[in-house]
Symmetry: C2
Subunit: 329 residues, 2 copies
């Protein structure tokens, strides 16, 4: 099977709904027709075997994850997904792999009304690069995008869902820890099929002052907000780690391990965001409307430092380091 | 050096001119602010060592080529370059490589006023994925994009510049042919530093009926126009091959070899386009205004066949096959 047959068989779908896609797959360029009064949010992620996924992952889960990590970036900006391009380097034409990968990819794409509009396929080491496009409204001349730079001293800090499972699964795959089958199934699902928090992200427009998605680790990613906003934070570390502390107890993990997985784990694709105390009701409403649990985990401070406290208010040393794609973990 | 230092040092430049970039590198998404009455043209290309470039290429030339092949897709659509994202997988952090690559990349980007607005970097087998964004005007409700599907029976067929040098250089690198140093220098330059025909592409808006860029081979790429437009073509094969026949004579190549390189070579990044005979003056003006030579090479026909004729008008068998990224040449 040649390049064009491969695209036609696995990646070309009927023309998607939505008048923003003026031209999809099949020409030199795709054409988007942005609506008046909107900005286009763009994010690009490249996934490499061994760095972003293990060879044990199913093609279907990989198709899901490749798009999910990009949709998560749109979510962190409060952007509504519109379309994406897919560039794919494959060692060989493996039809079973392509069938599974495209099924996982399109299932998530359809769930978000996000059309595949173009891309590239070539032979080479397995590499998946998706670039995603979303829409952000501009209201009274002001972009409604959630940025990293808007946090203010006194703002509350929240995280969506739970963090830590994805890293726990990775540690099991690495042979560093052993856990019950039930917990492993949960953790593996989080690692391999993350849920991009798109509905929460768009619901937080005009409510959150800053946001980021947790890809490299909660504290490290929060650090990007603090740097961009020129402020610091005080975090109740056991609020972050509470789900792990509570649910992993049967597997014999101590509190330090639960903190490490939760605060520095990475690959969670939850949202960390800030909002003023006056917006607490609005945050609760955004969580409720998007059916996404959010937890208050701390406060933004004027002093440029990241302070961690345990449940008793005692200081906890910050020994947690994020994932770096150029360092070997 | 970690991921964020690498981006800051080699890829983060002062905020570009142009109010369409509302937010560049450094947040979860970049934000573009499309102008009213325009569409956004999008193209994505992935370059893999051994498939799209040889390990002998200089990092600077590779930075140039990685962007050039994407700008060429914009040119084929008649789109004006605005911005691009870069996703880069690198085996290791090699500062000399990064310095050269980014120099070549930004030299071409600046020449076209095209801003790097985001992307991704990771460790893995060398892979370069650029997604490029361009602007196409919409006039009286009609997109001015040049598509593959607009060719009509009776239209003239043109190619810009010359084709064949890039493939000739590849054959030298493969050890299949030997040529003079002078010709090799010319051919290698065409292979490693292609010139995207952006000025010609935008000048052809409203003039050309269809266009495509020559990446896989002139006849194969023309075939995409014929298929999309539902028509055929008659090509004066020696008009296509004339520059090779004339300039490569001293190197002892016969006419069949010159035809093969020119008609099926690939990697030329010239434009093949169609326009009605009534637009001959307008085509000449577009060529002149963009300082890009164009050659008339044939005619679109109603019958869905690709017919090749030599300088005497005799039929030439079409034994030329294009480059397929999933077949080994």
């Amino acid at each position: 099977m040649g390049e064009f047959d491969l695209i036609a068989r696995y990646f070309q779908r009927p023309r998607p709904q939505g008048d923003y896609v003026a031209l999809g797959i099949g020409d030199d360029c795709a054409l988007l027709a942005p609506r008046a009064g909107t900005q286009l949010a763009i994010s690009s992620d490249m996934l490499v075997e061994g760095r972003h996924f293990l060879s044990t992952v199913s093609p279907e889960a990989l198709g899901h994850k490749a798009l999910a990590v990009n949709l998560s970036d749109l979510a962190a900006c409060g952007a509504k997904p519109l379309a994406f391009t897919l560039a794919l380097s494959l060692p060989r034409v493996d039809e079973a792999w392509l069938e599974g990968f495209s099924r996982g990819l399109f299932a998530l794409a359809h769930a978000h009304g996000c059309a595949l509009v173009g891309g590239d396929t070539t032979q080479g080491p397995l590499n998946i690069c998706i670039t995603v496009f979303g829409e952000v409204p501009v209201v009274a001349g002001k972009s409604q995008a959630l940025l990293r730079s808007g946090a203010q001293a006194g703002d509350d800090i929240y995280v969506s869902g739970t963090v830590g499972h994805a890293r726990l699964a990775l540690e099991v795959f690495r042979g560093n820890v052993q856990i019950s089958e039930e917990l492993f199934a949960q953790a593996r699902l989080r690692m391999e099929r993350p849920t991009p928090r798109v509905a929460l992200g768009t619901a937080l427009r005009g409510v959150a002052t800053a946001a980021i998605d947790v890809s490299d680790g909660l504290l490290g990613d929060l650090g990007h907000i603090l740097k961009a906003s020129g402020c610091g934070a005080e975090i109740a570390i056991d609020s972050v780690a509470a789900p792990a502390i509570f649910h992993w107890a049967n597997d014999g993990f101590d509190i330090e391990f639960c903190r490490e997985m939760s605060a520095a784990g990475g690959d969670d694709y939850e949202l960390v965001f800030t909002a003023p105390p006056s917006a607490r009701d609005a945050v609760a409403q955004a969580a409720s409307h998007s059916a996404t649990p959010v937890t208050h985990i701390g406060q933004i401070t004027a002093e440029r430092a990241l302070v961690l406290r345990d449940a008793d208010g005692s200081l906890v040393a910050n020994t947690f380091s994020s994932f770096d794609h150029f360092k070997t973990a």
